[in-house]
Protein backbone atom coordinates (compact mmCIF):
# COMPACT_ATOMS: atom_id res chain seq x y z
CA UNK A 1 0.00 0.00 0.00
CA UNK A 2 2.98 2.32 -0.08
CA UNK A 3 4.55 4.13 -3.01
CA UNK A 4 8.24 4.70 -3.53
CA UNK A 5 9.64 8.16 -4.18
CA UNK A 6 13.41 8.13 -4.30
CA UNK A 7 14.64 6.45 -1.14
CA UNK A 8 11.62 7.45 0.96
CA UNK A 9 8.36 5.56 1.22
CA UNK A 10 5.25 7.75 0.98
CA UNK A 11 1.57 7.00 1.36
CA UNK A 12 -0.58 7.61 -1.74
CA UNK A 13 -2.56 10.40 0.01
CA UNK A 14 0.67 12.27 0.74
CA UNK A 15 1.82 11.69 -2.84
CA UNK A 16 -1.47 13.11 -4.16
CA UNK A 17 -1.07 16.26 -2.06
CA UNK A 18 2.56 16.74 -3.07
CA UNK A 19 1.86 16.11 -6.73
CA UNK A 20 -1.11 18.51 -6.64
CA UNK A 21 1.00 21.23 -5.03
CA UNK A 22 3.85 20.73 -7.49
CA UNK A 23 1.47 20.92 -10.46
CA UNK A 24 -0.16 24.08 -9.10
CA UNK A 25 3.29 25.68 -8.76
CA UNK A 26 4.19 24.76 -12.35
CA UNK A 27 0.84 26.09 -13.58
CA UNK A 28 1.38 29.37 -11.67
CA UNK A 29 4.89 29.71 -13.12
CA UNK A 30 3.69 29.03 -16.68
CA UNK A 31 0.81 31.50 -16.38
CA UNK A 32 3.21 34.15 -15.02
CA UNK A 33 5.75 33.40 -17.76
CA UNK A 34 3.19 33.69 -20.55
CA UNK A 35 1.84 36.94 -19.05
CA UNK A 36 5.05 38.48 -17.76
CA UNK A 37 4.34 42.05 -18.95
CA UNK A 38 2.68 43.03 -15.66
CA UNK A 39 2.79 46.76 -16.44
CA UNK A 40 0.29 46.14 -19.25
CA UNK A 41 -2.45 45.37 -16.72
CA UNK A 42 -1.96 48.77 -15.06
CA UNK A 43 -1.74 50.74 -18.29
CA UNK A 44 -4.52 48.86 -20.08
CA UNK A 45 -2.30 48.33 -23.12
CA UNK A 46 -0.97 45.18 -24.81
CA UNK A 47 2.72 44.31 -25.07
CA UNK A 48 4.09 45.13 -28.53
CA UNK A 49 7.60 43.64 -28.49
CA UNK A 50 9.10 41.34 -31.13
CA UNK A 51 8.37 38.23 -29.03
CA UNK A 52 4.76 38.55 -30.23
CA UNK A 53 5.93 37.01 -33.52
CA UNK A 54 6.32 33.75 -31.58
CA UNK A 55 3.39 31.59 -30.52
CA UNK A 56 3.11 30.33 -26.97
CA UNK A 57 2.06 26.65 -26.91
CA UNK A 58 -0.98 27.38 -24.70
CA UNK A 59 -4.38 29.07 -24.97
CA UNK A 60 -3.35 32.55 -23.82
CA UNK A 61 -4.95 35.52 -25.56
CA UNK A 62 -2.53 37.76 -27.50
CA UNK A 63 -4.55 40.77 -26.36
CA UNK A 64 -4.10 39.94 -22.70
CA UNK A 65 -2.25 43.05 -21.41
CA UNK A 66 0.48 40.85 -19.95
CA UNK A 67 0.94 38.43 -22.86
CA UNK A 68 4.52 38.21 -24.10
CA UNK A 69 3.75 35.87 -27.03
CA UNK A 70 0.90 35.27 -29.44
CA UNK A 71 -1.98 32.84 -29.00
CA UNK A 72 -1.55 30.00 -31.53
CA UNK A 73 -5.30 29.69 -32.12
CA UNK A 74 -5.68 33.41 -32.78
CA UNK A 75 -2.56 33.31 -34.96
CA UNK A 76 -3.90 30.36 -37.00
CA UNK A 77 -7.07 32.32 -37.73
CA UNK A 78 -5.22 35.57 -38.44
CA UNK A 79 -2.82 34.01 -40.96
CA UNK A 80 -5.43 31.71 -42.53
CA UNK A 81 -7.99 34.51 -42.61
CA UNK A 82 -5.72 36.88 -44.53
CA UNK A 83 -5.91 36.92 -48.32
CA UNK A 84 -2.20 36.11 -48.68
CA UNK A 85 -2.20 32.69 -46.99
CA UNK A 86 -4.48 29.67 -46.73
CA UNK A 87 -3.21 27.88 -43.61
CA UNK A 88 -0.35 28.85 -41.37
CA UNK A 89 2.52 26.41 -41.76
CA UNK A 90 4.45 28.50 -39.27
CA UNK A 91 1.90 28.03 -36.47
CA UNK A 92 0.97 24.43 -37.33
CA UNK A 93 4.68 23.50 -37.42
CA UNK A 94 5.23 25.12 -34.01
CA UNK A 95 2.26 23.31 -32.49
CA UNK A 96 3.23 19.96 -34.04
CA UNK A 97 6.72 20.33 -32.58
CA UNK A 98 5.32 20.87 -29.08
CA UNK A 99 2.71 18.15 -29.65
CA UNK A 100 5.17 15.45 -30.65
CA UNK A 101 7.36 16.12 -27.61
CA UNK A 102 4.78 16.80 -24.89
CA UNK A 103 1.35 15.79 -26.22
CA UNK A 104 -1.35 17.10 -23.89
CA UNK A 105 1.09 17.48 -20.99
CA UNK A 106 0.86 21.15 -22.00
CA UNK A 107 -2.88 21.14 -21.20
CA UNK A 108 -2.27 19.59 -17.80
CA UNK A 109 0.68 21.69 -16.65
CA UNK A 110 1.17 24.81 -18.76
CA UNK A 111 -2.18 26.14 -20.02
CA UNK A 112 -3.38 29.19 -18.01
CA UNK A 113 -7.02 28.61 -18.92
CA UNK A 114 -6.75 24.97 -17.85
CA UNK A 115 -5.30 26.26 -14.57
CA UNK A 116 -8.32 28.55 -14.12
CA UNK A 117 -10.63 25.57 -14.59
CA UNK A 118 -8.60 23.51 -12.10
CA UNK A 119 -8.93 26.29 -9.51
CA UNK A 120 -12.68 26.52 -10.09
CA UNK A 121 -12.97 22.74 -9.68
CA UNK A 122 -11.61 23.12 -6.13
CA UNK A 123 -14.78 24.92 -5.05
CA UNK A 124 -16.47 22.28 -2.90
CA UNK A 125 -19.61 21.70 -4.94
CA UNK A 126 -20.96 18.26 -5.88
CA UNK A 127 -19.53 17.19 -9.23
CA UNK A 128 -21.93 16.23 -12.00
CA UNK A 129 -21.38 13.04 -13.99
CA UNK A 130 -22.24 13.76 -17.62
CA UNK A 131 -24.00 10.81 -19.29
CA UNK A 132 -21.42 8.79 -21.26
CA UNK A 133 -23.23 9.04 -24.59
CA UNK A 134 -23.62 12.84 -24.35
CA UNK A 135 -20.01 13.16 -23.19
CA UNK A 136 -18.77 11.16 -26.20
CA UNK A 137 -20.65 13.45 -28.60
CA UNK A 138 -19.56 16.65 -26.84
CA UNK A 139 -15.91 15.59 -26.92
CA UNK A 140 -16.04 15.52 -30.72
CA UNK A 141 -17.17 19.17 -30.83
CA UNK A 142 -13.63 20.41 -30.18
CA UNK A 143 -12.43 18.72 -33.39
CA UNK A 144 -15.21 20.49 -35.32
CA UNK A 145 -14.16 23.80 -33.76
CA UNK A 146 -10.54 23.16 -34.80
CA UNK A 147 -11.29 21.94 -38.32
CA UNK A 148 -14.14 24.29 -39.17
CA UNK A 149 -13.78 27.53 -37.20
CA UNK A 150 -10.02 27.70 -36.70
CA UNK A 151 -8.60 26.18 -39.90
CA UNK A 152 -11.36 25.61 -42.49
CA UNK A 153 -13.30 28.87 -42.56
CA UNK A 154 -10.26 31.18 -42.40
CA UNK A 155 -8.74 29.23 -45.31
CA UNK A 156 -11.76 30.29 -47.40
CA UNK A 157 -10.46 33.87 -47.33
CA UNK A 158 -8.32 33.17 -50.39
CA UNK A 159 -11.41 31.94 -52.28
CA UNK A 160 -13.71 34.76 -51.18
CA UNK A 161 -11.02 37.38 -51.70
CA UNK A 162 -11.66 39.13 -48.37
CA UNK A 163 -10.31 38.73 -44.86
CA UNK A 164 -12.26 36.31 -42.65
CA UNK A 165 -12.88 37.31 -39.03
CA UNK A 166 -11.44 35.01 -36.32
CA UNK A 167 -14.79 33.40 -35.53
CA UNK A 168 -13.59 31.24 -32.62
CA UNK A 169 -12.06 34.27 -30.91
CA UNK A 170 -15.07 36.44 -31.74
CA UNK A 171 -17.89 34.20 -30.56
CA UNK A 172 -16.55 31.34 -28.44
CA UNK A 173 -13.20 31.91 -26.75
CA UNK A 174 -13.73 32.48 -22.99
CA UNK A 175 -9.97 32.94 -22.48
CA UNK A 176 -10.07 36.09 -24.62
CA UNK A 177 -12.90 37.53 -22.54
CA UNK A 178 -11.20 36.67 -19.25
CA UNK A 179 -7.65 37.68 -20.15
CA UNK A 180 -8.24 40.53 -22.62
CA UNK A 181 -11.86 41.68 -22.67
CA UNK A 182 -12.46 42.21 -18.96
CA UNK A 183 -9.07 43.76 -17.98
CA UNK A 184 -8.90 46.06 -21.02
CA UNK A 185 -12.50 47.23 -20.79
CA UNK A 186 -12.04 47.82 -17.05
CA UNK A 187 -8.96 50.00 -17.54
CA UNK A 188 -9.63 51.68 -20.90
CA UNK A 189 -12.55 54.20 -21.02
CA UNK A 190 -12.50 54.41 -24.82
CA UNK A 191 -13.14 50.66 -25.04
CA UNK A 192 -15.97 50.89 -22.50
CA UNK A 193 -17.96 52.99 -24.98
CA UNK A 194 -17.74 50.18 -27.58
CA UNK A 195 -19.22 47.47 -25.37
CA UNK A 196 -22.37 45.98 -26.90
CA UNK A 197 -24.26 42.77 -27.63
CA UNK A 198 -21.17 40.79 -28.70
CA UNK A 199 -19.29 41.61 -25.50
CA UNK A 200 -22.32 40.60 -23.43
CA UNK A 201 -22.51 37.33 -25.40
CA UNK A 202 -18.86 36.57 -24.71
CA UNK A 203 -19.26 37.38 -21.02
CA UNK A 204 -22.21 34.98 -21.01
CA UNK A 205 -20.03 32.24 -22.57
CA UNK A 206 -17.34 32.92 -19.96
CA UNK A 207 -19.85 32.80 -17.11
CA UNK A 208 -21.24 29.52 -18.48
CA UNK A 209 -17.73 28.00 -18.61
CA UNK A 210 -16.91 29.29 -15.12
CA UNK A 211 -20.12 27.91 -13.60
CA UNK A 212 -19.73 24.62 -15.45
CA UNK A 213 -16.11 24.32 -14.27
CA UNK A 214 -17.27 24.26 -10.66
CA UNK A 215 -19.43 21.17 -11.22
CA UNK A 216 -17.69 19.42 -14.16
CA UNK A 217 -13.92 19.13 -14.28
CA UNK A 218 -12.22 20.84 -17.25
CA UNK A 219 -15.37 21.25 -19.40
CA UNK A 220 -13.75 23.62 -21.89
CA UNK A 221 -10.74 21.31 -22.39
CA UNK A 222 -12.98 18.28 -22.84
CA UNK A 223 -15.51 19.73 -25.23
CA UNK A 224 -14.46 22.96 -26.90
CA UNK A 225 -10.73 23.68 -26.88
CA UNK A 226 -9.26 23.55 -30.42
CA UNK A 227 -5.72 23.55 -29.03
CA UNK A 228 -6.47 20.49 -26.92
CA UNK A 229 -7.98 18.88 -30.01
CA UNK A 230 -4.76 19.50 -31.94
CA UNK A 231 -2.46 18.18 -29.21
CA UNK A 232 -4.71 15.15 -28.70
CA UNK A 233 -3.72 13.95 -32.18
CA UNK A 234 -0.17 13.52 -30.87
CA UNK A 235 -0.91 11.94 -27.48
CA UNK A 236 -0.28 8.36 -28.60
CA UNK A 237 2.95 9.35 -30.28
CA UNK A 238 4.45 11.98 -28.00
CA UNK A 239 7.83 11.52 -26.38
CA UNK A 240 6.31 12.06 -22.93
CA UNK A 241 3.94 9.18 -22.30
CA UNK A 242 2.08 7.24 -19.66
CA UNK A 243 2.67 3.52 -19.07
CA UNK A 244 0.28 1.14 -17.36
CA UNK A 245 1.69 -2.01 -15.77
CA UNK A 246 -1.21 -4.48 -15.75
CA UNK A 247 0.68 -7.02 -13.60
CA UNK A 248 0.98 -4.51 -10.75
CA UNK A 249 -2.62 -3.25 -10.88
CA UNK A 250 -4.77 -4.20 -7.88
CA UNK A 251 -7.99 -3.15 -9.63
CA UNK A 252 -9.06 -0.58 -7.02
CA UNK A 253 -10.22 1.91 -9.69
CA UNK A 254 -8.81 4.93 -7.82
CA UNK A 255 -7.02 6.08 -10.98
CA UNK A 256 -10.29 6.33 -12.92
CA UNK A 257 -12.01 8.26 -10.13
CA UNK A 258 -9.05 10.67 -9.83
CA UNK A 259 -8.90 11.50 -13.54
CA UNK A 260 -10.29 14.99 -14.32
CA UNK A 261 -10.81 13.98 -17.95
CA UNK A 262 -12.65 10.74 -17.04
CA UNK A 263 -10.10 8.55 -18.85
CA UNK A 264 -9.75 4.89 -17.90
CA UNK A 265 -5.96 4.81 -17.83
CA UNK A 266 -6.04 1.00 -17.48
CA UNK A 267 -7.61 0.65 -20.91
CA UNK A 268 -5.85 3.47 -22.74
CA UNK A 269 -2.98 5.14 -20.86
CA UNK A 270 -2.21 7.40 -23.82
CA UNK A 271 -5.80 8.30 -24.64
CA UNK A 272 -6.24 11.46 -26.76
CA UNK A 273 -8.22 12.86 -23.83
CA UNK A 274 -5.45 12.39 -21.23
CA UNK A 275 -3.91 15.73 -20.17
CA UNK A 276 -1.04 13.95 -18.33
CA UNK A 277 -1.89 15.73 -15.05
CA UNK A 278 -0.49 12.75 -13.16
CA UNK A 279 -3.45 12.40 -10.79
CA UNK A 280 -3.82 8.71 -11.65
CA UNK A 281 -0.13 8.05 -11.10
CA UNK A 282 -0.11 9.82 -7.73
CA UNK A 283 -3.24 8.09 -6.46
CA UNK A 284 -2.28 4.55 -7.52
CA UNK A 285 -1.46 2.50 -4.40
CA UNK A 286 0.43 -0.13 -6.41
CA UNK A 287 2.64 2.07 -8.61
CA UNK A 288 1.01 0.50 -11.66
CA UNK A 289 1.13 3.78 -13.60
CA UNK A 290 4.39 5.40 -14.61
CA UNK A 291 5.53 8.07 -17.03
CA UNK A 292 8.42 7.91 -19.46
CA UNK A 293 10.09 10.30 -21.84
CA UNK A 294 12.89 8.22 -23.28
CA UNK A 295 13.68 7.83 -26.97
CA UNK A 296 14.78 4.28 -26.36
CA UNK A 297 13.67 1.77 -23.77
CA UNK A 298 14.73 -1.69 -22.76
CA UNK A 299 12.20 -4.17 -24.06
CA UNK A 300 8.70 -3.33 -25.24
CA UNK A 301 6.63 -0.66 -23.51
CA UNK A 302 4.22 -2.19 -20.97
CA UNK A 303 1.41 -0.49 -22.83
CA UNK A 304 2.41 -1.76 -26.31
Amino acid sequence: MFGMHGNRVRRPSERVRRQGRARTLVQCACAALANGYAVGFLRGKVFSGPSKALCVPVLNCSSCPGALGSCPIGALQAVGGSTRHTVSFYVLGTLALFGVVFGRLICGFACPFGFVQDLLARIPLPKVVVPARLDRVLRKVKYLVLGFLVIGLPAMAVVTGGNVAPLFCKFLCPAGTLEAGLPLVATNPSLQRLVGFLFNWKVLVLVAVVVLSTIVRRPFCKWLCPLGAFYSLFNKLSLYRMDFHAHACVGCGKCVRACPMCVDVRKDPNSPECIRCGACKATCPANAITTSSKLTQKGPSPTD
Binding site: L54, F199, P300
Partner: protein, 53 residues
Protein backbone atom coordinates in the same frame (compact mmCIF):
# COMPACT_ATOMS: atom_id res chain seq x y z
CA UNK B 1 -2.21 8.45 -37.18
CA UNK B 2 -0.77 5.66 -35.03
CA UNK B 3 -1.77 2.09 -34.29
CA UNK B 4 -1.14 0.51 -30.86
CA UNK B 5 0.97 -2.25 -32.46
CA UNK B 6 3.67 0.20 -33.57
CA UNK B 7 7.07 -0.76 -32.21
CA UNK B 8 9.22 1.67 -30.22
CA UNK B 9 11.67 1.99 -33.13
CA UNK B 10 8.89 2.70 -35.62
CA UNK B 11 7.37 5.22 -33.23
CA UNK B 12 10.73 6.97 -32.92
CA UNK B 13 11.06 7.12 -36.71
CA UNK B 14 7.57 8.62 -36.96
CA UNK B 15 8.42 11.15 -34.26
CA UNK B 16 11.60 12.12 -36.08
CA UNK B 17 9.64 12.52 -39.33
CA UNK B 18 7.10 14.80 -37.61
CA UNK B 19 9.87 16.88 -36.06
CA UNK B 20 11.52 17.24 -39.48
CA UNK B 21 8.24 18.17 -41.18
CA UNK B 22 7.46 20.66 -38.38
CA UNK B 23 10.84 22.38 -38.74
CA UNK B 24 10.39 22.58 -42.53
CA UNK B 25 6.85 23.96 -42.03
CA UNK B 26 8.10 26.63 -39.61
CA UNK B 27 10.87 27.62 -42.03
CA UNK B 28 8.44 27.68 -44.98
CA UNK B 29 5.97 29.77 -43.02
CA UNK B 30 8.67 32.21 -41.94
CA UNK B 31 9.86 32.49 -45.55
CA UNK B 32 6.31 33.48 -46.55
CA UNK B 33 6.35 36.13 -43.78
CA UNK B 34 3.62 34.40 -41.80
CA UNK B 35 5.40 35.43 -38.61
CA UNK B 36 4.85 39.07 -39.56
CA UNK B 37 1.09 38.46 -39.77
CA UNK B 38 1.28 36.77 -36.35
CA UNK B 39 3.23 39.78 -35.00
CA UNK B 40 0.80 42.27 -36.56
CA UNK B 41 -2.15 40.53 -34.88
CA UNK B 42 -0.30 40.14 -31.58
CA UNK B 43 0.78 43.76 -31.09
CA UNK B 44 -2.64 45.35 -31.64
CA UNK B 45 -5.67 45.15 -29.37
CA UNK B 46 -7.78 42.44 -30.99
CA UNK B 47 -11.35 43.69 -30.72
CA UNK B 48 -12.74 40.33 -31.87
CA UNK B 49 -10.88 38.53 -29.06
CA UNK B 50 -12.33 40.98 -26.54
CA UNK B 51 -15.85 40.70 -27.90
CA UNK B 52 -16.09 44.23 -29.23
CA UNK B 53 -15.24 44.07 -32.93
Amino acid sequence: MWSPSLSTAARNRLRAAIVAVSVVAIAAGATCNEHLTVLAKGVRVCLECMGIG
